[in-house]
């Protein structure tokens, strides 16, 4: 097993801001992810999308960040979606219960 380096890729389009994550999201990269998110958290005009296609691992601190984005975006009535969740990560989302909230999204 090779440990895969965490990667963040960001792309802004006319109506959305897509953050694609790759590698292993754990406690060691929490600060890195938080600073990438900071400038876009407030952007209620954009649909914030977290694409997890290339993510190979997530722990409770990573899930905690997703919960905090969800809460923040919901609080300011801004859209947020998590897309292309790999099966191993979906399993943890189901176990913790966060999947129920992700399916609903905050775009109402």
């Amino acid at each position: 097993m090779k440990s895969q380096q965490f990667q963040i890729d960001q792309k802004e389009t006319s109506d959305s801001y897509v953050i694609s994550l790759g590698g292993e999201l754990d406690l060691s990269v929490v600060t890195q992810l938080r600073s990438a998110l900071e400038p876009v958290m407030e952007r209620a005009d954009l649909n914030l999308v977290l694409n997890l296609r290339e993510l190979t691992y997530i722990d409770s601190t990573g899930i905690g960040i997703i919960v905090s984005i969800l809460k923040y975006r919901d609080g300011i009535n801004a859209p947020f979606a998590v897309k292309e969740i790999p099966p191993s990560i979906q399993r943890l989302f189901d176990l913790t219960g966060i999947s129920g909230y992700l399916a609903e999204g905050t775009d109402k």
Binding site: L27, D59, S60, V67, T96, G97, Y101, T106
Partner: protein
């Protein structure tokens, strides 16, 4: 028994996962079981890093031991930090369910995941630190 010692810092937890992968593969655990154990063991290490002695207090190390048993494997994560709370009774259902989004807890999922992903979880705290003992049975 296989032992590993890492500095108490988040940057080294991936090494514990790589080591676990090696040991568990050799014991013929399934891919799914290994994935489950990777998360549980990392959560135990997260707690050790977050609640262990800080650098200012002399720094600390995390000891991880992998013990193959007849039933499967027991992994012990030990650090010299103070005890943390372990309330098994409250961990029966998924923590993120049936609550308003604004009330969702951001933390505290680590122990829940350990309980959900392993067959046995024990936390032992004493003067010398805290030990999290995780057991996974080999599937038939």
């Amino acid at each position: 028994m296989i032992r590993l010692q890492i500095p108490s810092h988040a940057d080294y937890i991936d090494i514990v996962r790589v080591c676990l992968y090696g040991v568990a593969s050799k014991l013929s655990f399934s891919y799914e079981d290994i994935e489950d154990m990777k998360v549980a063991v990392s959560e135990a290490c997260n707690n050790a890093v977050l609640y262990g002695r800080s650098k200012e207090e002399g720094g600390s190390l995390i000891d991880v031991s992998f013990q193959p048993t007849e039933a499967g494997i027991t992994i012990i994560v030990k650090n010299d930090g103070p005890p943390f709370e372990h309330r098994e009774s409250e961990l029966a259902s998924p923590p993120l369910q049936g609550i308003e989004i604004s009330e969702l807890p951001v933390g505290g999922l680590g122990l829940y995941l350990m309980e959900a992903l392993m067959d046995e979880v024990k936390v032992q705290s004493g003067e010398n630190g805290t030990e999290v003992i995780l057991t996974k049975y080999a599937s038939e």
